[in-house]
Symmetry: C2
Subunit: 401 residues, 2 copies
Amino acid sequence: MTFIKTPVKGMRDITPQEMELREYVLSLMQETYQTFGFERIQTPAVEHIENLTNKQGGDNEKLIFKILKRGEKLSIEETTSENDLVDSGLRYDLTVPLTRFYASNMNNLPTPFRTFQTGNVYRADRPQKGRYREFMQCDLDMFGEKTNLAEIELITAVITFLKKLDFKGFTIKINDRRILLSMIEKVGFPSEEADSILISLDKLDKIGLSGVREELLENNHEPEKVEKYLSFFEKKLTIDEFCKQFEMDEKIVKNLEEIMNSVSDITGATLEFEPTLVRGMGYYTGPIFEIHVEDLSSAIGGGGRYDKMVEKYAGVPTAACGFSIGFERLILLLNERGFEIPRESKKLAIILNHEDQKEEALKYAQQEREKGSIVKVVNRSKNLKHQIDVLEESGYTWKEW
Amino acid sequence: MTFIKTPVKGMRDITPQEMELREYVLSLMQETYQTFGFERIQTPAVEHIENLTNKQGGDNEKLIFKILKRGEKLSIEETTSENDLVDSGLRYDLTVPLTRFYASNMNNLPTPFRTFQTGNVYRADRPQKGRYREFMQCDLDMFGEKTNLAEIELITAVITFLKKLDFKGFTIKINDRRILLSMIEKVGFPSEEADSILISLDKLDKIGLSGVREELLENNHEPEKVEKYLSFFEKKLTIDEFCKQFEMDEKIVKNLEEIMNSVSDITGATLEFEPTLVRGMGYYTGPIFEIHVEDLSSAIGGGGRYDKMVEKYAGVPTAACGFSIGFERLILLLNERGFEIPRESKKLAIILNHEDQKEEALKYAQQEREKGSIVKVVNRSKNLKHQIDVLEESGYTWKEW
């Protein structure tokens, strides 16, 4: 009989030790988000292939695990392409199913709708260190709130969670998609080039100003305009100073300032205006934000306002704003930082020496459990010393019975 | 753009109201199992197609969602059968991945290994009321414990959980696979017919003794033997009385009695010897058990000892015993019984009247959250009365600001 012991390529088993930290972080997150009135929902991991391949998912659409049709619907003889074979696939993010959920249930949901979703998503990416083909996403979203109350409550919730976790050394960087687009317009770049220019700017962290310059010139942008554009990013400026340079719409600036001041006042956290912050997804329409830490080059979370997407998918204009934590990166970082879970429960192993006293030992164990202890009853093994060593290593005290 | 609003066929979205109960039950379960020293693990939802189709999964193997190969590995031109197209599939239970997990990690796991796994599983079954193609399983297992300490701790843990849930009116029915096989042997049925005979006996609940008789006769068993066999099940007997009738091995009887007495002593729950209890899966090798309630015809959980399976899969002889809760059925039943989640948190909505006082309202909200309340800050809507009605319906008190 063929039996393969390792997980499928790019996926992994999660051991009890790893699981303990994940569960701790998740339940702290849930507990925190809940106090902000965010309600948890769940959507299937399997999604219509049509919804996954409608060109809104960018590169993720190339990484879909597709599911074969079943029964009579599958006809291999008549198959000419992949599309004939599949009817569904595994979701590559939680945003597509959330939007579908909202479109399907909006009449029964409060406005604004505050929601929280955690779940595994799947991408057939090239496996590499710390990146898996099945990984957890944790999305916080608010639908139907047009004002910056959405941004403020979302960012405050995420910061409150990170503080409860005693997570140190993070900065929230913030920008506005409209500032990015306005700059491109004011410099005089053709507006249809905006996406491509922003893709170059997004690499600034990795390739520096000179690298971005090179890319823009390679893409045949006029050297003068390129210089003017890049000059905006040379000096670290406040949002006010920055926006005055090219007469940015005051409403947009004031909105962003209000978010920054408000969140900073409430949480005490550092928020930083970052005019080079792009965020990959083109669907953002307003403020965008990311969580940065010194010990990791990529962000460990981010989000923004995406007021047009729900309408595009579901036909009904709906303001939307979201904030997603990169759960796997956060766990990685906590491990690297030597994070320890605050423990409360006593762990006790009762080692049974006498079969005829099992009953009493079991009763005693049950009483201790009722007081909140973790208790396991185990038979004495031949090598008692080894048995005790293993128990102690995993934090158990023990008692012979 | 094509966008399908409903979930894929047979699967479902879970709303905040449903989710609240599910989360409550799950965390109570986890909390309880943890006090017994069971440690949580997680395995991928995607499994090697070889592991899913090796004839150990019975009918479930006909219901697999199969995943298409990707990239160069997929060659539609050279395809002659489904097998050429797929390399993996969605798991149909948690036992296959658990066994694979154990085979892969056993050197780093304690003996005995107490583990707890929850996760969605997938079966392309005909959709029907209360049965979904994606559903949650909750499995408790102990590997490496040969004595009935495994059965006792597993059953005690499950009962302790049900009691914490204040779940009433359940009985644990218990039997032993070896008693079932021994009876067939003593009656004189051919041993190779055992599986088929047990499939008939398993239907006793639905078709009664006369129905089982009919089926056995249709399968060409000698009428005398059929009568003798069925006579065992006519009267309700104690395990002692029952087993004396056909000189059952005393060790097996004593083992079962010990489990029943011990669990009953510790938990106060009712355990009942049920000689007609079969449980579908052929992999059981010793005691088997199920949770029955009066208001549902099928069991809401069950398990047993399956000492041969790990060896079959993983090559290493390993005692194993498990108990699985039918999570979806339990939730269904709790809803039908009008179960209410014990609430502790105050829910407060702050309705913003004045934009210039937002800051203060947000600060007040944060203070209340720190005290454990659920607080959301919302802008006053045009129809205040409706806004308040909706808030009150979902359990919120409110305050204008």
